[in-house]
Structure formats: C-alpha cells, structure tokens
Amino acid sequence: MRQSPLTNVLMKIFSSGFYRMHSGMLIFLFGTILCYCFFINTLGSVPIWAFTVWNLMITLSLVSSPVIMGFFCLAAFIYTIKSWQYVTTQLMAKNNEFLYHSISSFGKWQQFKSWFYVQFNIFFPLIIYVLFAIIIGFNFGHYLIPVAILLYILALIIVSAWIYVIRSNRLIDIDRQTVLIRLLRNWNKPFFLLYTFFVFDKLKITYLITKSISWALIVGVFAVFSDIKDRSPVPNLVVLMIVTAHTLLIYSEFRFNEKYLYFSRNFPYSISKQFLGSFLNHAILMLPELLWFIGNFGIHSINLLLQAFSILILFRSLLCWIGLNIKNYLIWIFVLFNIVFLIILYRITWLLPPVFVSMAYFVFQKNYLNKNLID
C-alpha cells in the first residue's frame, strides 16, 4: 500500500530523525537486552534445559511478575516522554515550521493516522520486544500480563499521536518563556552561565532524565556495595558513572555554544578563561550531586570532586576535536570510560587530575577554533 504524502514526510522528519539522534542510546539499550536474552553464558556445569530458562529469565519475569511489569511500563513511559520531547522540539525547529501550515490542512483523522504511524515506528524496538514477550509468555502459560503490556503500549501510541495532533494544530507563541527566564528577566545573565539558562528553558526533560539516572546510580550502587568498607573504589566508580550519565548535557552544551554563542569567538576572552568558563555551567547543573558527595564524604570528597572535574573537562574538550559527530564522540566516551574504570580498579585515581586536565587543555587549545571542522 502506498504511503500518504503526509505520513511519508512525517516519517522522514520525525521517525528517521529520532533514530539518527538516539542511535547510540538505542543500540546500547536494546543491544544489551538482546545479548542478555540470547547469548549470555553461565558459569559452571549447567543442564541444557536450564540454559533456555536462564536466558529467558528477564522476559519470563516480565510476563509473570507484576512488579517487573511495573518497571517495564515505567521504562516505556520514560521512552515515550523522550519521544515527545524529540517530536515537539523538532516541530518548533525553524526548518520544520512549514509543517504548521501544511499538516493542519489535512483532516484530523488523517493527521492522527499519520502521527500514529510515526509513533508506531518510534516504538518499533519496544513492540518487537513485547511481541517476543507475548510468545514466551503464552508458551509458559502466562496470558494476562503480556496482553496488558501490549494494550499499554498501544495506549501510549494512541496518546502520543493525539498529543502530536494537538501540538501541530496549536498556534505558535514565539514569545513564550519559562517561569525561571521570566523571573530573571532583569538580571544580566553572565556569559559563562548562559547554557544553564538554556537547559532550564529548553532541555528540562533531558536534565530531569539525567538527574534521575544520576540519583539511581548513587542510591543503587551504594546499596549494592553497602557491605564494602572504607577505602573502596566504589565512590570513584559512582563519580565516573555520574559524569558519564551527563554526556548528553556536555554534548548539548557544545552544540549550544556552536549554534548560539558562535559570535563569542570574537570576544576578547583568553583561552584559559574559555577553557574553564564552560565548566561553570556543569558545576551548577551537577550541584545536587556535588552537595551530596560533600555531605557524605566531607574532606575526602575533594578527591572525588577533582576526579569528576578532570573527567568532565576531558569529555568536554574532546568535542572541540571531534565536533558534533555524536557517533564518534560516544565511541571516545566508551574508550575513556573503560580507561578510567581500569585506573579506578588499580587505585591510581590520583593520576586523573594532572593527566586528564593537561590532556583536556592541550586538546582544547589545539582545536578550540575547530581546526578540523568545516564551517
């Protein structure tokens, strides 16, 4: 059947765009689940029948336990919010403004069908997994939960499509500002904190998701390793994971600078001021975690905070060299994560501040004028 022109355009802009933008996250998320489900091996001698059961343990828990189902539904909801954020941000982009005076000319039912198709595509990995869970569930005699999950996913798609129809038919308020921006209207915002304002204006959901991951790491990892006593590398590992969880915010800061603060390259700011200036934003954005570490580790938190600073500043400087290529950036983050992980395991974290900060400064100084990028 031939796709309608509306569905075709929406699919290209929103579905394909969503996968392009979130390819790293999606490959990691669904790749991990897939690997666990099909390829994980167990230590020791295991009877052949047990292999299948253990490999299917996650999926079986999902279709048999209401608690796991609740977690899955929560994860699916977070995924849905992420897709809402992407679609609404793209709808507001200048190059997609034409949609407001083209989509709205179609009938509402046609619009709903097209948006349904878009959201269905965005949900495709989830739907495949749910269908897999249904087959497993039915084979092992679980019927109610698999059907409930399928209905829940269907409801999310319908609600999303309905929200998109409303959003794309709404008149644009070009002077709309968040409460924070309105409150601070008369305050001259410092140049090196502009990204923080941008986050609270435009990246609220990304920020909230990052903070949720961050706090889940703090609570989860410390709970799991609660029996390990002093001088353990656990706090260092948590710091590494928290900074890595902020990768998207670090990347967005660089993108914000490239797009909105391009003019500032003509400002008479020294290299060291520019190098350290962007860190201010991240210090403010990570303030809750910062205070938590100071509160819990007292004087020892200085080492941890120095470690966080050195990793973060290197993650940030790498972007000056790599540019906005998220795929290459994530590969480098992955490599650095493993290197730092080993450094932590060997308990030589004192190396991090001098080595990483020097490396970060070197990379920044060589590349802050985007030597390798096409303007």
């Binding site: 070009i174 391009y262 303007d375």
Partner: protein
C-alpha cells in the same frame, strides 16, 4: 593596518583562499566575489573565528599570539546572526558592551537612530530577521574597534535603515579612523561608493582593485 602573511585557509584538502602578502590601510572596503568564493571565510578568519595557516596582524598584533588584545580591536556582524532565543535585545547589548569594553551609554545613539527601543525588552526568539540584523549591527559598533567586519550588512533591513547604517559607517570612520570591511552582493550607496575601495575575492585569492 591589517596585514596578511602566507595566509592559507582550506576546508579539508580543498583550498579556499591563499594570500601571500597583502597590506590593507585604514579605510572602507567593499569585498566583492561570487557565491562561495570565500568572502565570509575571509571575514571570519580576520575576526578570529576560524583556524587558518599563516598570519594576520592588526597594527602588529597577531590574532594567534595575542588573541585577547587582537579581538578587542576587531568586531564582526554575521550575515545571518543567531543568538540565544531566551535573551532580550538589552541583555545581548549588555553582554557585548561588557566584552568589548564599550563606554556607558554608547549603544543609545545606535538604538535611537535605528528606532529599536520598542522591542529590545523582548526575547530575541521573537525578532524578525530584520530586527535581528539591526541588533547584530549595533553589537558590531560597540567598544572602540579598529576594524569592523560586516558580512552582508545590506540584506533583510529596510531602505530607511540602510541609509542610517551608511551614516554610522561614515561617522565611525571619520571620527575614529575605523576600518570597515563589507562583503555585499548588493551595490553600496552613492556616498559609500565614493569612499570605498574594492577588494576582490577571486581565483582563491584577495586582490585590491585599482
């Protein structure tokens, strides 16, 4: 005086501009060239935005070695300016005034003559392209620059504002001997044409037209 020595700018392996040696004395210059000839690249290189090989000196101050004093002397207005949408026009002016060390109230003359008072309290995100362009021009005149680089300054603004811009350029040049480099596909006004010399970007180099 602006001085180029062994200047070379390329994108990947594709050379865009090569200037072996060139001196530009204070004055008003109209940079001409076809689309894609490298006019904006030239202005952005002089403005300290882009990496290049070789050297650019302004009054013997190097953009590479003395980046802070150099950037104090060079201002730039982009062809299609983009600013953070949540900031107001006033906030942008305050930011530039501080960075470029403008004298208090320096912006008022420009704002008044372009009749911009009515919308400067609004967020930049609500501006039309013409309003944004006017704002970018005001920002380029703040401080005491020795060189002002204007990339396509004549597009998107109304005819009345074009005359005002022309007056600003002449006044700034006469009072402070500021050099102007204007890239434009549109012909300059009669008054500016009599004062301006032509710099031609062609065949990957920059030459002064006699």
């Amino acid at each position: 005086m602006l001085q180029f020595t062994n200047f070379r700018k390329s994108y990947g392996y594709h050379p865009i501009l090569q200037i072996e040696s060139l001196r530009i004395e204070p004055g008003i210059y109209w940079i001409k060239g076809v689309n894609g000839s490298g006019k904006s690249t030239l202005l952005k290189s002089i403005g300290g935005f882009l990496f290049f090989e070789g050297e650019i000196l302004l009054n013997n101050v190097s953009v590479k070695k003395d980046s802070v004093p150099y950037r104090k002397m060079v201002n730039f207005a982009d062809a299609e300016p983009i600013y953070p949408e949540f900031l107001t026009g006033w906030e942008m002016i305050a930011l530039f005034a501080k960075a470029k060390q403008a004298t208090p109230g320096q912006e008022l003359y420009f704002i008044k003559s372009m009749k911009m008072e009515s919308y400067l309290s609004n967020a930049v995100g609500s501006y039309s392209s013409g309003m944004l362009k006017k704002l970018s021009l005001v920002l380029a005149f703040l401080g005491r620059p020795k060189v002002i680089l204007l990339d396509e300054p004549l597009i998107t603004i109304d005819t009345e504002s074009l005359d005002i811009l022309c007056r600003w350029i002449l006044k700034k040049h006469e009072e402070e001997n500021t050099t102007f480099l204007l890239s434009s596909h549109q012909p300059l006004s009669e008054v500016l044409l009599t004062k301006a010399r032509v710099l031609l970007v062609d065949k990957q180099t920059l030459t002064m037209e006699k």
